[in-house]
């Protein structure tokens, strides 16, 4: 029904940027989680997830993002969410993700935060 989900990864010196495309449902959440797991295995602990091309989510997909947050809390990592629609930002806030993740307006804003 919905477009196929895709996530592209860009490794940077001090973090990894994941750019999602499509519906962040259970499958979308799992694809993000798989990529983060692979990157953690290479030593990366700071992640920026850019949702510019994902304007639809559900709580199953977000629950998988909570698993990702849990892993990062355990290893002292950090996660930034960027380019959220107003409603997705509100949804993340209602669920409390903002207590453990930072929301930045743009990917560049998050990269600046990481570099501080």
């Amino acid at each position: 029904m919905s477009d196929a989900f895709d996530v592209k990864v860009e490794k940077r010196a001090n973090c990894a940027v994941l750019r999602t495309e499509g519906y962040v449902n259970n499958l979308g959440g799992e694809k993000i989680s798989e990529k983060v797991d692979q990157l953690i295995d290479t030593g990366i602990t700071v992640f920026i997830i850019n949702f510019e091309k994902s304007n639809i989510v559900n709580s199953i997909g977000i629950s998988i993002l909570i698993e990702v947050i849990e892993k990062l809390v355990d290893i002292g990592g950090k996660i930034y969410f960027t380019n959220l629609t107003k409603t997705i930002s509100k949804t993340f806030s209602i669920m409390g993700l903002t207590q453990f993740a930072e929301i930045c307006e743009t990917e560049d804003d998050a990269i600046k935060e990481v570099s501080k």
Binding site: Y23, I56, S63, I94
Partner: protein
Amino acid sequence: MAKESSVNEVDLVIPMLPDIEVAATKTAAAVAEYMKFDSDKIDELNQALIEACINSFEHSKSLDKKLYIKFIINDNELTVVIKDKGSGFDTGSINENPDIKDKLKSDYKRGWGLMLMKNLMDSVEIDSNEYGTTLTMTKIK
């Protein structure tokens, strides 16, 4: 898929198929746009509808595997009634205010649907019995 059932109602019946909730949001958006809701409120309505649909798909145990959605247009508000013909559930068993701190420690990370619907809509009511569940939610323009 959608049909006009009376002057101020639109009925939609969707099969319980993966991601079909996205199709339901297209009808919701069209009705809300007709009513001149602003885009943020339409997005919130759609998010709540997605949660209502996936809750039903997952938990209703519906025999006919269908979800019956009615959009009721009023002057200043849109009411969405979502019915399934499942086996119902104890509405008192729902945790309406899950806490992410608890979820981080728990193996069960889910259970956010009702909380999201209540925060994104202006009212949400659930009626459930052994013949099915009806969720009624309203968004004010």
